[in-house]
Amino acid sequence: MNLEGKKVTLHDMSLRDGMHPQRHQLTAEQMVQVATALDAAGVPLIEVTHGDGLGGASVNYGFPAASDEEYLRAVVPRMKRAKISALLIPGIGTVDHLRMAHDCGVRTIRVATHCTEADVSEQHIVLGAKMEMDTVGFLMMAHMIEPEQLLEQAKLMQGYGANCIYVTDSAGYMLPDHVTAHVGHLREKLNADVEVGFHGHHNLHLGIANSLAAVEAGAARVDGSVAGMGAGAGNTPLEVFVAVLHRMGVETGVDMWKLMDVAEEIVYPMMTHKVRVDRDSLTLGYAGVYSSFLLHAKRAAEKYGLKSTDILVELGRLKTVGGQEDMIEDVALDMKKAGAQE
């Protein structure tokens, strides 16, 4: 694989996707500590929000240690070079949250929908573009559909005004060939001035391999997470990806040595749940289940005396999509009932 001379913008997820393994309990001070260190290491984009995006504070997903607004007001003014982004999932967050984030100084908004439901993002993408934000469409669980179908949805987001569209492997299920096909197809067919991005999960340990495939297929932005802190087995570990890209002659503008210090000295010690490929996160990747379900399934398994891998496999069989955390307890109760009848 020859990536020599390619450029890629890296986007850190530890303070948004990393909120899942931290049960949304990172404090504003911790966020400032991590974000300033990432900024000093030259990471250009850093996402800061509840794990389920703006407005995610809920019984369903978990109440965070501080509000989105408190996090953003703490972090944004401290950035010297890095830009702060926010995630918004229509159906959970609204344009009111988007306006709030903009007011806090957020200039990159990522509007996320299930890969087949892009038309629910119209209000939010239109407003983001109108406010002249860097407006990104984020198509989740992209493994569930073919490149041709994904393109139709990407074109809707492009039509609303998004300037970048992501192939999002929320379940960490995709193999490098899938990534090549999805990213390549979008790159070929979308307008030339619309960027393509890739967001991976490390559930099958393919975060790096998939991200390289994405860059080769034309992705201009790639998400990763310092120390891999993200849902499931985490996101593509950013310091590892930077090391590999530099070996391959790809420019990132990130100081790898500083970044590995952030991972080792700040983020690993912070982790309350050690993010790794365990049998549950491996099950997510193998069965194609939304990575954020991990800790919810572990808790339901413990509460109802079930095996968490069984719950996850059942959630995959039911074709659940991102945001359906409420199904986890429901499925556990069903399984317990069925078990009692046997």
Binding site: V59, T94, D326, E329, D330
Partner: protein, 298 residues
């Protein structure tokens, strides 16, 4: 025998057409007009075959006939954008409006919770909140009538096929209006609503999760009884409304996991979200009709 009260259905899409089939079975209401904007719409064709007068020129098309045809009640199943002008027009002729759009000009109505109260107030326009609101607010009210609820959150999951273009284009209306209904009608101090659209095939049945956080420790037995009574009330007009799991009591959290199967009149059975709207809209109109009959008999 009392004569049935005549009514018009504005909007010939999925909701309007499903409502038509339900209204034809009513003992107190007779649907006489179906108003659309597309002459080729399936809804208008069916209405015509079933003996209703139809127009494809919007409410203006019906306006000259409102008085002669004794239209007393109208349902609006169009969109929030045009509801206000539709309402202004029929209001001139003393027509009562049951609003199935999220426009929410009038007070919210969730039949098993506040329908009687609504009719007593003789309001001209009542709003049916949202499908998710109709499916969940009764359960919030079932808890809040037992003890104070500080926070209630509902998660409505609907199949892709049952989420129409109106809902999709303005999904924020759903979350805002439903959350407000959870507070105003459900009786929670603070409300939150989440909607998920799932594309699985075959389409999944509408499901709803309701989480209430009570101020003090939940009175389990009373809540269970109150919930059972409430479910029985909803089942009077939506027989497929059922408690799948729960209530789960976990500290101050009380959770219900519901499933809503539709009657399958015009919309498929999995579209319980649309069915609960049309059924609630009909039930509301029937109570208004009975009120009209009583006033005329007196």
């Amino acid at each position: 025998m009392t004569t049935k009260v005549k009514a018009a259905i504005i909007g010939s899409g999925n909701i309007g057409t499903d409502l038509l089939y339900k209204a034809l079975r009513s003992d107190v209401i007779e649907p006489v007009w179906m108003v659309g904007i597309d002459p080729d719409s399936e809804g208008l064709k069916r209405a015509k075959e079933l003996g209703l007068k139809t127009t494809a020129d919007g409410v203006q098309g019906m306006e000259p006939h409102i008085v002669d045809d004794k239209v007393r009640i109208a349902w609006d199943a169009t969109s929030a954008y045009v509801h206000e002008s539709n309402n202004e027009l029929v209001k001139k002729y003393g027509v009562k409006m049951v609003d199935l759009t999220p426009a929410a000009i009038g007070p919210f109505c969730v039949p098993p919770v506040n329908l009687q109260e609504m009719v007593g107030r003789a309001v001209q326009n009542v709003n049916m909140v949202t499908c998710g609101g109709q499916a969940t607010i009764p359960m919030v009210a079932a808890v809040s009538r037992v003890q104070p609820v500080e926070y209630a959150e509902i998660i409505a999951t609907v199949s892709s096929k049952s989420a129409g273009p109106g809902t999709r284009k303005n999904i924020d209306e759903f979350t805002r209006t439903t959350a407000k209904g959870v507070e105003v009608v459900g009786g929670a101090d603070r409300g939150k609503a989440i909607i998920i659209i799932n594309p699985a095939e075959p389409p999944l049945m509408m499901r709803d999760t309701i989480h209430c956080l009570t101020k003090d420790a939940p009175k389990e037995q009373e809540i269970i009884e109150s919930a059972q009574q409430m479910i029985a009330e909803v089942q009077k007009y939506v027989p497929g409304y059922s408690l799948k799991n729960g209530p789960v009591f976990d500290g101050n959290r009380v959770s219900f996991f519901m499933e809503v199967e539709g009657l399958g009149d015009f919309l498929p059975k999995y579209a319980g979200n649309l069915d609960i709207m049309t059924a609630a809209g009909l039930r509301t109109a029937e109570l208004i009709a009975e009120e009209i009959q009583r006033a005329e008999a007196a």
